[in-house]
């Protein structure tokens, strides 16, 4: 695999991947990630919106044969999380046993390491979701 020296490729998504910034159109439709055109009404008048990071699991899987680069973490849970603002986000779940995951389980966003490249390579961070910590 080609060596991932393109730091900019990852750096340009910091606001979405570290802070969960999405988009909200003039008619109030919220989406994630932020897009140039509202997927609901077609408006191009979109502003950034900070998402709460609280949501519910609507479906999940356990990845046992991961794409290369993720072998170290296997098996890992991957879920579709519906945020309280509406958008659905795909992310790994963390700090949870596979047996505990269920439909409608409440989760909150956390920042975690997602992947690292060999030796002098870069380390990728981003959002994962976990059961809420009181």
């Amino acid at each position: 695999m080609a060596r991932p020296m393109q730091v900019a490729r990852y750096w340009r998504h910091f606001s979405e991947k570290y802070r969960l910034i999405g988009g909200k159109c003039e008619n109030g439709h919220v989406h994630f990630p932020k897009r140039p055109v509202c997927p609901v009404c077609g408006s191009k008048n979109i502003e950034e919106v900070q998402l709460s990071g609280k949501g519910k699991v609507i479906s999940w899987t356990i990845v046992r044969n991961p794409p290369s680069g993720f072998e170290y973490y296997k098996p890992y849970p991957l879920a579709l999380v519906e945020l309280e603002e509406g958008p659905i986000v795909l992310a790994q779940l963390t700090d949870v046993e596979p047996d505990e995951i269920d439909f409608g389980m409440e989760v909150e966003v956390v920042t975690r390491k997602l992947r690292e490249f060999e030796e002098d390579g870069i380390i990728l961070y981003g959002y994962k979701f976990r059961p809420p910590v009181e």
Partner: protein, 386 residues
């Protein structure tokens, strides 16, 4: 308006072709199709392929394959629409013929997937997903389909056993196809006892990583007559449709509707002047059993939520109301991704000529449906006996 007919079809067996490279497979299938049509030259070449750059570091397949096949200085390009590349390439070939720009067109679909490591294959296949928002989080293609399958089972009350019936049917038919990768019938327990790849998808819910190539020759009825191809060997491409949906599964308005398939099917039905009730057999894209269920719903054969019910009721077998995967489908025949749409097309041709190993009696109209991505890029083609 001009019409387009297929006058030749050819393929290689699907499998792990360790002794053959991408170009060998493509040229073998192409020559088989040209020989079948009785032509020794074509006006242009369209190559359906998804991942040649990743798997074997080769792009520019138009030049590579036309050159290697000795087709001369014709126009030749690769068509890519993820796993629907083959179905899309057929449509580009048909468009060239219908436009009047080209009279005799060759289309070949090829994929060489077994030259690399399996985990790399898993990574490359995920390139059809959204790289920044799906693969970035470690999503494999199986995992994305697993999210849909679990949600489908929960929403409509199906079990893993219910969906396994699609695999059982595919293997029963594939067992008779000499070109299939897997030629053994299986039982529901075979599926249920196979290991999870991404729960609830098990190994036997999923199509295999493999190599293969298939090809067709397309022309007009007038030219077919001029070339001396007997009419009973013509198969008309009567309808075509293609549409996209959100590339990122999480952005889908409804996780359980293959909207792109529905739109593509509506277009194809309209162009062909037929409805789902007129179709004698269906080659749908069962890369995973869940996709077979959703596809039946999207193309209008089953109501929403009832795709898996058709399998439970035994309606998908060769001798039942809605025969699907008559040559084994992606599950048993195999799924060399960019070639699959061409295998489906060749299978439709064999059925309509009455030459299929698992023949649907008196088949007159057939439908192929080819899915790219997690339902994000879908092609539907309808074929009719002339």
């Amino acid at each position: 308006m001009r019409k387009a007919v297929i006058i030749g079809a050819g393929m290689t067996p699907v499998g792990e072709h360790w002794k053959l490279g991408l170009r060998d497979l493509a040229v073998e299938a192409l020559f088989n199709a040209m020989e079948d049509a009785g032509v020794d030259k074509v006006d242009s070449l369209y190559v359906g392929n998804m991942l040649s750059g990743s798997f074997v570091e080769q792009e520019n397949l138009g030049a590579l394959i036309a050159d290697w096949a000795g087709l001369g200085n014709i126009p030749a390009v690769k068509v890519e629409a993820a796993c629907a590349s083959g179905g899309a390439a057929v449509q580009e070939g048909v468009k060239a013929v219908l436009s009047g720009l080209e009279d005799v067109v060759a289309v070949v679909g090829v994929e060489k997937m077994t030259d690399g490591w399996p985990s790399d294959a898993t990574r490359y296949l995920a390139y059809a997903a959204d790289a920044e928002w799906e693969l970035f989080h470690g999503a494999s293609f199986v995992a994305l389909n697993a999210l849909v399958m679990r949600y489908y089972m929960k929403t409509y009350g199906y079990t893993e056993e219910d969906l396994a019936l699609f695999s059982v049917n595919a293997h029963a038919n594939g067992a008779k196809n000499p070109y299939a990768m897997f030629k053994r019938p299986i039982k529901v327990d075979t599926v249920l006892n196979s290991p999870y790849v991404a729960d609830p998808i098990k190994l036997f819910d999923a199509s295999p990583v493999c190599d293969g190539a298939a090809s067709v020759i397309i022309t007009t009825p007038e030219k077919a007559r001029e070339l001396g191809v007997p009419k009973e060997r013509w198969v008309e491409i009567a309808g075509m449709g293609r549409a996209i949906d959100t590339i990122n599964l999480a952005n889908r308005e409804d996780l359980l509707t293959l909207r792109a398939a529905r739109i593509a099917a509506e277009k194809a039905y309209k162009m062909a002047g037929v409805g789902p009730e007129d179709i004698d057999f269906f080659e749908i894209h069962d890369a995973f059993t869940i996709m077979a269920a959703l596809s039946l719903e999207a193309i209008g054969v089953a109501k929403k939520g009832e795709g898996a019910k058709l399998a439970k009721e035994g309606q998908i077998a060769i001798d039942a109301g809605y025969p699907i995967q008559t040559m084994g489908g992606l599950k048993a025949r195999g799924h060399p991704v960019g070639a699959t749409g061409l295998y489906q097309t060749v299978e439709a041709v064999l059925q309509l000529r009455g030459e299929a190993p698992s023949q649907v009696p008196d088949a007159e109209v057939g439908l192929t449906q080819n899915i790219g991505g997690t339902g994000s890029n879908i092609t539907v083609n309808i074929f009719r006996r002339v």
